[in-house]
Each structure stands twice: as structure tokens, then as C-alpha cells.
């Protein structure tokens, strides 16, 4: 399972792709079962005047929802631990709680095409 994440160009806000629009919460992200559909969606989503650093992340099922598998992406979807009042975690909500409680190994290999994207 995959989702598409980026930072909004104008303000750097972390955003998730959902059927042609960018959303600000991971809980609103479109999830892709098939890799080729996800790749095609990235090509559509990565509009340089709207977003920067656009890429696919791995997502895994949790108790009653989904969470990014990479620890890095969990931090990105929630906010910094030292300031719980900053970032998306400040708003709270089911998706945030779910990510914060996500268990198991948070694989750092969740970001695809890392080397290609950094060229």
C-alpha cells in the first residue's frame, strides 16, 4: 500500500495526494494498492508550481486504519516530539493517534526512488 506525500511549495506544509487534490492530513491521503497506479498518480501530482519533494511512501494497516511504515514519515505526518503543540499533531484526531500508536518496526526504507529523486 502506498500514498503520495509532498511539501507545498509556497509554505512547506506537508500534504498528501487524494484524487487530484492536495490534503493536509495523512488520514485524507489516497491509498494505492497497485504500484503502477501509484507511479502514474505521482506523475500527475508532482506539479512544480504547487509542490516540492513529491514522492511515494509505504503505508501499512494498523488496528483500525493505516499509518506510514517509515518512522521519518510518521514524524512528517504528525510533528516534532519536543513540541507536541506544533505540526499536525496539534489538531489531534484519529489519524494522528493511530500513527503515534503505530507499532512494529518503522522502516526507514519507506521512501521510494530516494537516490533518483536526490540526483
Amino acid at each position: 500500500m502506498k500514498a503520495i506525500v509532498a511539501n507545498r511549495l509556497i509554505d512547506g506544509e506537508v500534504v498528501y495526494w487524494n484524487h487530484g487534490a492536495w490534503k493536509t492530513r495523512f488520514g485524507e491521503a489516497e491509498l494505492f494498492e497497485a504500484d503502477d497506479a501509484a507511479e502514474a498518480a505521482v506523475a500527475q501530482a508532482n506539479v512544480p508550481t504547487q509542490v516540492v519533494d513529491c514522492y511515494l511512501i509505504d503505508v501499512a494497516p494498523e488496528a483500525d486504519g493505516y499509518a506510514p511504515t517509515a518512522f521519518r514519515e510518521r514524524v512528517k505526518a504528525t510533528g516534532p516530539q519536543n513540541h507536541p503543540q506544533h505540526g499536525k499533531q496539534a489538531e489531534g484526531g484519529h489519524d494522528i493517534e493511530l500513527i503515534k500508536q503505530a507499532h512494529g518496526i518503522a522502516r526507514s526504507a519507506g521512501r521510494h526512488n530516494l537516490i533518483k529523486l536526490k540526483k
Binding site: 511539501n7 511549495l9 509556497i10 509554505d11 512547506g12 506544509e13 506537508v14 512544480p48 508550481t49 516540492v52 519533494d53 517509515a70 518512522f71 521519518r72 514524524v75 512528517k76 510533528g79 516534532p80 516530539q81 519536543n82 513540541h83 506544533h86 505540526g87 518496526i105 518503522a106 522502516r107 526507514s108 526504507a109
Partner: protein, 551 residues
């Protein structure tokens, strides 16, 4: 402190205007991110996990209170009300919006500040001694030479596209508070028969390949500093590797050539170049020197009865005096360190309100000037002994009176995976956890000087290589693990620490630190600091203690 002249002012204003146009073109889609990225980095603007990060240059760590208040205002207006002081004596804002950056740069320019030379493959902000102009140890104020280097580097087209970033430190005290031997160039001021000069160290550094830099010249007459730096940079620019980012720093070139051969090439280059056109006229040196003239100190006795009485009456003040107050060259004055390491807080963070309050204290008690240390603390450099109690009370009121300078909770930590796009692991929560475990002031004083430094990745912004205890966050099969090292030093006895053993999981790091401290307390001889005991007994007892428990 040094004030901008017309050239400085025009240059900084031009760069702000130039970047404003570049941002507009990027937002309009006229330039791509690939084209824009090097331009934004030249203006200190990074993209991190949650937002853009703007790194603002604080040349050689000296701030006026006008500048500090402006930073406080920017923190409240454009960020989330706080800033993060870094190990390069700079300040970072972590929640910046691209659309606001042009306005922020205009505001910075209005107080003679900018974000230049805080990123990119150029000569970065010069590091200097936070006690410059205040300590009796120094030969002269090293900021004179730091400022001359700043002016030379900021406008130098030849050295704006180096193989990799380039960091210079200048100190004039035998006790090195700049980590000079861990810089690309370290300049240690010396006084010889010929007058002022520098011992020149080249090729130190941290990152994935740490080196303590070798000395390539024992004494360089100070008046030739610019031509000699030019010669070093030319050799690096010519022969430094551009094909491999991990081998592009000058430390790799120096290590591969050998210090002797590198020095020979620099000397040959120096002989060949047109020194008179590069070295500064004495009048220009004196002009800049005048910018660092000593403030109008009062003539006071060396001992303050009021301060002694206040210490006798207040145990907390006495503790603060023991740890945060240091001798000043002027009788009746002291250097006061402000710890940004209250246990449980983020190392190096200060809120806008705290910055304003510190500016008020500096105006009232320290000639309107504040220093930033590479250990992520602040300094009021010229406080009358009579006023230390008032400064302490002012700091207590804003939660910044921790009397822990150089103690176990005075931890350097990079932003780590909580913010940084490059990090493998978090650094801040590890620092908070250790600091809270050792929050008891008596325990911390009993342990004595202990420098713990934490980096969230191998780039080593948290200086873990040179921590008495170094902690490096690594990604081990997808989990945050921490590699411990021992015996590093960033001081005049600079040394790269040795790895203790296999990395430990996050929840074992504080226990491991505790176990190493137990070994030290058990093994230490009278008067020994942690690092001294380690140097005497070696790695083995520490290793046995940690791995008996952790695995």
C-alpha cells in the same frame, strides 16, 4: 561591535532584493526547483520535514540587542514563537513559509543581518570565541580577524563555488572554545617576536570522516592572513574533489596529500601570488579593530562585597556563580553564561519572549551585546560582579537560570529527525531524557565537567565525534539505534572519540550514559574530569559496564 559600512549595507540589501525576485519567479513557475534550490540555499533557506527552515547568520556569534529583538519579533511574527541556536553560532527558524522569506530578509537587513554563508559550498560563517574581548586569556579580540575574514569571504567570487562548504574558526585564547582543530581552517592567534600571528591548522572536520586538523604553519604574521587564506583556498579549489560529495571537503585533500605536501603546495602558491594586492592595508585592519574597542568599563575593585554577600545568602546563586560565571579581564566584571539547556527543554531553543528578556538584561547589564556559543548557549560577556545577582534573578524569571554549564545536562543536540530531512534518528528526545535523569544539580556538580554531544545522523551537526560521550543516531534495520563513543574533545586537546561497541536502542541510551558515569565515579582519581579518567583507564571498563546491561 562592528557596524556595517555603506558597502556592507548595499550588498546585503541587494541580495535580499535579488532573492525576492527569485522567489517570485519560482512561485510563478519561471524557474524550476532544480534551478531554485541552489539560490535558496545561498540565502540560508532549506526544506525540512515540516516546513522551510531559515538559518540566519550570526557572524562569530555576536549579536546586538537590536538584532536579538528583531530575531524575537521574527520568531513571533513568522515562526512559532521560538528559534534554535546552532552549533555554528547561528539561529534557525524551523517553521518558515517561502512566501514570507523575502520580507524576513528585508527585516534582517534593516538590523545588519542576513542568511548568507549559512549554506552552500561557500566560506561559511566564521566561528569565534564567545568570550572574545572579555577573557584575560586572549592575545587580542579574535573577532577583529573574524570580521576581516567575513568581509573578504562574503564578496569573494572565486570562492563562492568551492568543491564543498568551508568553515573557519579563529581564537586567541589558549583554551579553545571554537573547536578550531575541527574546522576546515583553524586559526590560533600567537604572539611572536615578529608581532601578532596565527598558527594555521587545515583539514579538520567532523561528518562521516572526522579528522583533527594538522598544523601546516606554526606562525603566520597576521598582516599576511588574507593572502595566506587565499593560497589555501586556491589549492583546495584547484585540487579538491568535485566528483564525490563525501570526499569533497578539504580534510580529504589534506589527508590524501599529507599535511607536509599540502603545506608545501600552499607555500608555493603563496610565494607566487600577488600578496600586496591581497593583504589588507594596516589602516583597514585598524578600522575594523576600532569596531571591537572595549566598552566603557568602570574602574572597580576586583571583589564585589554585594556579590559575595548575595552568594552567601542564596545557595542557588552560589551554584550559578560556580558554573556559569567566569573571570573577566576587567576587575569587577564577569562573563555570565546563559544556559539554553534547562533539563527537559530542547537544547539551543529560546522563545521570542526569552530573547526579548535577554536583550533587556544585556542592555541593562552587559553593554547591549549578547554572544552565541557553539555549544548552543548564550553569553553576557561584560557583567559587573555587583550585577550578577540581578542577572541571575532576571534569568530565573524566564526559566533560563540553569546552573549547568559544562555539566552533564549541558548537552549539544542537533534538531535530528524531529525536524531535519537528513536525519536517521531523533536527537532532541535523547538529550531531554538524559538531562532529566541528571537534573539534580548536586549530582551534576558531583559528576563535574562532562560534554555529551548528540547527532541524528553522520553529518555530525551535533558534534558527537568530539563529545566526551558522543551519541550518534543510526538506522539499524529500520529502527532508531544510537552508537556511543567515548573520549572525544573539541577543545585545545582535540580528539575524535572511539566507538564503544554495538549501537543501543533509544530506551537504553540514558541507562548507558548512567552506567558510564558510574564507572567514572568509581574509577576517578582526585581532581579528574570524566575525560581524564577515560584517558587514564581506557575504553574497557566503560564498555564492560554498558554491554553487561544493554545486551
Amino acid at each position: 561591535m562592528y557596524r556595517y559600512d555603506a558597502i556592507d549595507r548595499a550588498f546585503v540589501e541587494d541580495r535580499a532584493a535579488q532573492f525576492k525576485a527569485q522567489v517570485a519567479r519560482r512561485l510563478a513557475g519561471e524557474i524550476s526547483e532544480d534551478q531554485f534550490k541552489p539560490l535558496r540555499l545561498m540565502n540560508g533557506l532549506y526544506l525540512q520535514l515540516h516546513a522551510y527552515m531559515l538559518r540566519i547568520s550570526i557572524p562569530y556569534g555576536t549579536l546586538s540587542t537590536t538584532q536579538l529583538r528583531k530575531l524575537a519579533w521574527i520568531a513571533r511574527t513568522y515562526d512559532k514563537g521560538y528559534g534554535h541556536f546552532t552549533t555554528r553560532q547561528n539561529l534557525q527558524f524551523h517553521w518558515i513559509k517561502l512566501r514570507d522569506v523575502p520580507d524576513i530578509l528585508d527585516h534582517l537587513a534593516s538590523v545588519e543581518m542576513h542568511a548568507l554563508q549559512t549554506s552552500g559550498n561557500c566560506i561559511r560563517n566564521v566561528t569565534s570565541d564567545p568570550r572574545a574581548g572579555a577573557t584575560a586569556e586572549e592575545i587580542e579580540d579574535p573577532r577583529v580577524w573574524s570580521e576581516l575574514i567575513r568581509q573578504w569571504a562574503a564578496l569573494h567570487p572565486e570562492f563562492s563555488f568551492l568543491p564543498r562548504k568551508f568553515k573557519i574558526a579563529v581564537t586567541a585564547s589558549p583554551h579553545d572554545r571554537t573547536a578550531a582543530r575541527l574546522h576546515d581552517i583553524g586559526l590560533l592567534m600567537r604572539k611572536g617576536r615578529e608581532g601578532l600571528g596565527f598558527e594555521v591548522i587545515v583539514g579538520g572536520g567532523m561528518g562521516r570522516t572526522p579528522y583533527v586538523g594538522p598544523t601546516i604553519r606554526e606562525f603566520l604574521p597576521a598582516e599576511h592572513l588574507m593572502s595566506y587564506l587565499e593560497a589555501i583556498l586556491r589549492i583546495y579549489n584547484r585540487h579538491g574533489r568535485r566528483d564525490n560529495i563525501y570526499k569533497a571537503r578539504i580534510k580529504i585533500l589534506v589527508a590524501q596529500l599529507g599535511a607536509e605536501e599540502f603545506a608545501r603546495q600552499v607555500e608555493a602558491e603563496w610565494e607566487a601570488i600577488d600578496r600586496p594586492s591581497l593583504d589588507l592595508p594596516q589602516a583597514e585592519i585598524e578600522r575594523v579593530r576600532a569596531g571591537f574597542a572595549a566598552p566603557a568599563f568602570e574602574t572597580l575593585p576586583g571583589r564585589s562585597d554585594a556579590f559575595e554577600a548575595a552568594k552567601a545568602a542564596d545557595y542557588a546563586l552560589a551554584r550559578f556563580a560556580r558554573n556559569n560565571v567566569h573571570p573577566h579581564k576587567q576587575p569587577g566584571y564577569a562573563i555570565v553564561d546563559i544556559s539554553l539547556k534547562a533539563p527537559g527543554e530542547t537544547p539551543g531553543d529560546a522563545t521570542g519572549d526569552q530573547m526579548d528578556a535577554i536583550a533587556d538584561l544585556a542592555d541593562a547589564y552587559s553593554f547591549g551585546e549578547v554572544r552565541v556559543t557553539h555549544e548552543q548557549n548564550l553569553v553576557l560577556a561584560h557583567v559587573k560582579l555587583d550585577d550578577v545577582a540581578a542577572v541571575f534573578a532576571g534569568l530565573k524569571a524566564i526559566g533560563l537560570a540553569s546552573a549547568n554549564i559544562n555539566l552533564v545536562s549541558d548537552i549539544i543536540a542537533c534538531p535530528g529527525l524531529d525536524y531535519c530531512a537528513l536525519a536517521n534518528a531523533r536527537a532532541i528526545p535523547i538529550a531531554q531524557d538524559i538531562a532529566v535523569r541528571f537534573a539534580n544539580a548536586e549530582t551534576a556538580e558531583k559528576i563535574g565537567e562532562l560534554k555529551i554531544k548528540i547527532s541524528g545522523c553522520i553529518n555530525a551537526c551535533g558534534h558527537h565525534h568530539v563529545g566526551h560521550i558522543g551519541i550518534l543516531g543510526v538506522d539499524k534495520k529500520g529502527e532508531e539505534f544510537y552508537q556511543l563513543s567515548l573520549g572525544g574533545s573539541a577543545a585545545e586537546d582535540a580528539e575524535v572519540g572511539k566507538i564503544l561497541g554495538p549501537a543501543v536502542p533509544a530506551d537504553k541510551v540514558t541507562d548507558a550514559v548512567d552506567q558510564m558515569i558510574e564507572v567514572y565515579l568509581r574509577e576517578r582519581h582526585a581532581g579528574e574530569r570524566f575525560i581524564d579518567t577515560y584517558r587514564r583507564v581506557g575504553l574497557v571498563p566503560f564498555k564492560e559496564a554498558v554491554y553487561a546491561e544493554a545486551h
